[in-house]
């Protein structure tokens, strides 16, 4: 796999791009997991507030996802450098 990456770009940028994407995925996974867990807990405690909680959870998840996508874009820039 390493050889494949090196073949792709000729130097180490492929590895850097992969690391950027992977570390961003770790962070976003932790963030979205926490949002989802809290939203589920909140809905279980207060089922009548489920709609409001769901809407807010989706928007908050989008914020976290946006940060992860910044990292993904930087990974792409590295790869296509």
């Amino acid at each position: 796999m390493l050889a494949f990456l090196l073949e792709s770009t000729g130097d180490g940028y492929g590895i850097g791009a992969g690391l950027a994407a992977g570390l961003a995925a770790i962070g976003a996974g932790l963030g979205i997991g926490k949002i989802g867990g809290s939203a589920g807990e909140g809905i279980a405690r207060q089922p009548e507030a489920a709609d409001a909680i769901k809407g807010n959870a989706i928007v908050l998840a989008a914020f976290v996802e946006g940060v992860a996508l910044f990292a993904a874009v930087i990974g792409l820039l590295l790869y296509t450098k």
Binding site: E7, S8, V59, E65, G66, L69, L76, T80
Partner: protein, 323 residues
């Protein structure tokens, strides 16, 4: 009403066939190395002999808009960009706009009628939902009434552009589609509208001095004020920038994931050296691509929703700065 709808559909079809005609002349393909030219007879051979990075680059060449009118003038680097050049993203913005006309002009006509068609009722309900669930909870009824039409248009315009991007291209039939929102140029324009609304409406409501004074939190110690002012100015610009990148990167990432899932077929075929076994690798790869495609069709609407909701929040927050 049927006549109008048919006319508008014809308009979209003409635009689409125009896209097909000009898309055929100038495919946005990266440089194919000379070794690959020998195998250009059949497509499978050509894709398989491409180096990995060229193959990958071709997958997101469509995130760079290419000029379709006037044709080929960007071949000359000394000439510079044309002022009135027509790019493929312009075309698909017009297609999205035409699609909206097809969908919503009958809705306009359906208000006096007793039995509107099911499509008109769905779209009316959808507009009502945007107004009642997105605009009114943030802005309130009095102010939201004036703002609802713009945000309804914003939602459906982004959603239409995203959905057009999901239609697969068929290069063999010279039918090419493009995601207008998959390029940063279109999303930055949409976000700039939000930025100008934030600035303009904020200044209109609070006065020029009051707007910039209102950016700062109350009760700040004096030495912190210059620092906080700079930070708040930066955050004012970063908000639309984040809108830009979020929409663009979501659309681009979805297309790249689908392209990579399909690209796995070629990668595996290369690894096992061809042969009948390579047909088996297509089954999980195509299944993965279909799965991602289903997720993407949800993401198209979700991103339109998020862009609209955040725009509503930003514009309202700059009009009423009470933090």
């Amino acid at each position: 009403m049927t006549a109008i709808r048919t006319l508008l559909l014809a308009f979209v079809a003409v635009l689409g066939s125009f896209a097909a005609a000009v898309g055929a002349q100038e495919p946005p393909v990266a440089q194919v190395p000379a070794a690959a030219q020998d195998h250009a007879g059949h497509d499978e051979g050509r894709t398989l002999v491409l180096p990995n990075d060229v193959f990958f680059m071709r997958q997101f060449a469509h995130s760079v808009p290419h000029q379709i009118w006037p044709a080929h003038s960007d071949a000359d680097p000394a000439h510079g960009p044309d002022l009135f050049a027509f790019y493929n993203v312009n075309l698909f913005q017009w297609v999205a706009f035409g699609l909206l006309l097809v969908l919503f002009v009958p809705v306009l006509g359906s208000f006096g009628k007793k039995n509107p068609s099911w499509l008109s009722r769905v779209l009316r309900g959808w507009c009502m939902w945007i107004r009642d669930e997105m605009v009114y909870p943030v802005m309130g009824k009095e102010e939201g009434r004036a703002w609802a039409p713009y945000f309804i248009f914003l939602f459906f315009f982004i959603a239409a552009m995203n959905c057009i991007g999901l239609v697969p291209s068929i290069p063999q039939l010279h039918f090419e589609t493009g995601t207008a929102t998959g390029t940063p140029f279109v999303t930055v324009a949409l976000a700039l509208v939000t930025l100008f609304l934030m600035l303009g409406m904020g200044i209109k409501h609070n006065g020029f001095i009051g707007f910039f004074k209102g950016l700062l939190p109350h009760g700040l110690p004096l030495p912190l004020i210059p620092l906080m002012f700079v930070i708040e100015l930066v955050s004012l610009v970063v908000k639309p920038f984040a809108l830009t990148i979020r929409l663009f990167a979501n659309m681009l990432a979805g297309h790249l994931v689908i392209a990579s899932a399909i690209g796995l077929v070629f990668l595996f075929t290369k690894m096992i050296g061809g042969g009948p076994l390579s047909y088996l690798t297509a089954i999980p790869s195509a299944g993965l691509a279909v799965f991602i495609f289903i997720i993407e069709s949800f993401v198209t609407l979700l991103q339109a929703y998020i862009f609209t909701l955040l725009s509503i929040n930003f514009v309202y927050a700059s009009m009423h700065q009470d933090h």
